[in-house]
Amino acid sequence: MTRNALGREIPEGLPGGRRIYDGSHPASRLTGRSGRVKGVGMMTAPSGKTLPSIEDAIRASGLKDGMTVSFHHHLRDGDDVLNMVLEACSRMGLKDLRVAASSIFPVHAPLVDHIRNGVVTAVEANYIGGPVGEAISAGLLPRPAILRTHGGRVRAIEAGELEIDIAFIAAPCADPGGNLNGVQGPSACGSLGYAVVDAQYARCVVAVTDNLVPFPACPISIPGGNVDFVVEVDSIGDAAGMVSGSTRITRDPVGLVIARNAARAIQASGLLKDGFSFQTGAGGTSLAVASFVRKMMHEGRIKGSFGLGGITEFFVSMLEEGLFSTLLDTQDFDATAVRSLRENPRHQEIDCGLYASPGRKGAAVDHLDVVVLGATEVDTSFNVNVTTSSDGVVMGGSGGHSDAAAGAKLTVIVTRALRTRLPVIRDSVTCVSTPGDSVDMVVTERGTAVNPARPDLAGLLRERGILVRDILEIKEEIEALVGRPAPLAISGRIVVINEYRDGSVIDVVRQVV
């Protein structure tokens, strides 16, 4: 057992010879591309790329026991493709598969049975919510799941650490040549930013569509040159499920006060000026911060540069009002965002590597002024947990959290200090998702805690009359109200290896007893 730079206990000899997080900036050990770009020659079916069924595509792809299959999560909780493919694999008797999905949602609950039956024995993702997270926490997988960041997954693929055998790509629009986009059809999900990278690097790529159009599809997000087979099915999912989670501005009065205070802190930082660039999570409080920032931009006649990340109706309205010059879009959270991507040339689709990979020669997150993010827990060193709930069960993952926090000039965490009876601010988080040295401030209903590494920022906030408080003081205050959280009952068995964006192990999650 060793301790990493954040003091987290990491067992030695983890599979894959993983590095331990040492606290250095990822840029210091960029691994670059492995050059493992897919070779020439497609696995084209005799009749062309189109195949009548997923089973046919599985056979044609050469999928065998022990291989890795990948999926994207653009349809979020409305996705049917992961379930369809694994069901077919199960019927065909395949075993020991590794599922490398960019994210896993509650809709993917059937995956639990596939794990139980040995069809799937490994899971790697950037976010795992719902029953699959609960099953992993209960120790159902024979080996630890791997959680990465959005940028870290691209880096791992390009560095050859995550080798994808077959990428199954849910395609809202496809032509027989394998050209794909996400903005047309009954299951339009907008950007295909996560799938672009899988299509470039997987040994074989199967597009699954419910909207087969004559060649050529227009626009083309993923070129047919990267796609081996196309399968038409009745439905790839329910576009309504894409709007999962909270993508509406909070109506919670306390959440709104937190949001207003966060917006004021952003203004006080001096970054809210012409050329401003901005990302928020899709949570209700984060979106409320955006609504206050939007008002400030209007009042100050500020013309921003770009909005980034998962795009919501709210960011679209800011683009259309001229508050941003462009949106850089890796995924869409609602139908308005999809419409905007389809129609507005200033709304640009980008792949996830351009969004956030630390292994490339440039990422959009590194150009960010401000990112506003949520938290399940924050510790007194400003480390943030968005991976597990406070009872230790996997219910999420970093996604772009760590990437944007590392890149932005100002990282703002918005959260209640107390969530019902649970202290959010605590001595130690259950799992570190994002290291505290990339977090500048935590805005709570009990005041704003500024990272001691940013005394300049604390001074600016105080000058504007913002209540700045020591994070320790907030922690002690809430503990006086609800007590200290009891230690979790966990076993020694590791169920998740949590990778930082550079691939090092930032923390592990142990089985809940």
């Binding site: 009065p253 709104l256 006060v257 107390l418 209903e445 009990r446 009359g465």
Partner: protein
């Protein structure tokens, strides 16, 4: 400016009275940080009938355990006609700074005063929201322990069969009457809450009426309203400057022993000087409060 004095002798401004449901521990725990001068833990309208008992227990716990950071602790009990008044008052009177009595009139304030016999320091704000209460406003303001009148326009207009409008013309008389009664009795006057929580501009417009009529404070039903209320009721810089010039001119005249004084072509008499002192007093109080915040 009229202020409330708590049992500990602390003086409270009552610019803003923020309502928090007594059935919501999370809201009550957050309330001290929402900037209001007075926090109203509500046992009445925001609490469903089935939760009255549990809310009373929660409010008692909140009063015992939460540091309200200097804010006035007000509890809105249930009305005299609810059958719950006695239990509410017995539970909270010794813990709260102030009891807010809904549907107040002379008779119900008398009943409350009797129930408060053991709570030596408890103050009362009378919520004027019935036609009877409005007609008895001055007597209510002078009733035992009363340190404020609070206009509740929603219930009042219902009681009087009035149409309630965004413009609020129908409550002008009630506003005027409450302010006059409170001023005559030298107690605080608190204007009715603005119920469209999403309409900040509407609140700002309506606060101009609050301010012009001389209300000392305003009720808030959303934390985001608190700051808007404080902003609107703060004496503006031009008024403060005018007051300073008036007092300077008055002092000069006294020093020179001259009689009538003029400033910018207008005569300054005793009421104008008194008004100037009032403006400066209010500005100084605000400044002290903001430094504390």
């Amino acid at each position: 400016m009229t202020r409330a004095v708590t049992p500990s002798g602390k003086t409270h401004l009552r610019r803003s009275l923020l309502f928090v449901p007594g059935s919501s521990p999370a809201m009550m725990m957050a309330a001290p940080f929402l900037g209001a001068d007075s926090i109203v833990l509500d046992l009445e309208d925001s609490v469903p009938a089935s939760e009255k008992d549990s809310a009373r227990v929660l409010v008692v716990k909140a009063l015992d355990s939460i540091d309200f950071r200097g804010a006035e602790k007000v509890v809105r009990v249930n009305s005299a006609g609810s059958g719950l008044l006695k239990a509410d008052v017995e539970a909270v009177a010794s813990r709260a700074d102030t009891i807010l009595l809904p549907k107040a009139d002379v008779e119900s304030l008398g009943r409350l005063a009797a129930l408060l016999a053991c709570a030596q320091h408890a103050q009362v704000i009378a919520l004027i929201e019935t036609a009877t209460g409005l007609e008895e406003a001055f007597a209510c303001a002078r009733a035992a322990r009363v340190t404020g009148l609070f206009l509740g326009a929603e219930d009042l207009t219902l009681d009087m069969g009035m149409e309630r409008t965004r413009e609020g013309d129908e409550i002008f008389y009630a506003r005027w009457r409450v302010v006059a009664a409170a001023a005559a009795a030298r107690v605080a006057s608190i204007d009715t809450p603005y119920t469209d929580m999403s309409d900040e501009e509407g609140l700002r417009r309506d606060l101009q009426v609050t301010r012009r009529l001389g209300f000392t404070g305003r009720a808030c039903i959303h934390p985001l309203q608190v700051e808007i209320v404080h902003e609107a009721l703060r004496p503006d810089q031009a008024a403060v400057e005018w007051a300073r010039r008036v007092i300077r001119a008055d002092e000069d005249a006294r020093a020179k022993g001259t009689g009538a004084v003029t400033l910018d072509g207008r005569m300054i008499d005793a009421p104008i000087v008194a008004r100037a002192h009032h403006v400066l007093d209010r500005a100084a109080t605000y400044e002290r409060r903001e430094v504390r915040d």
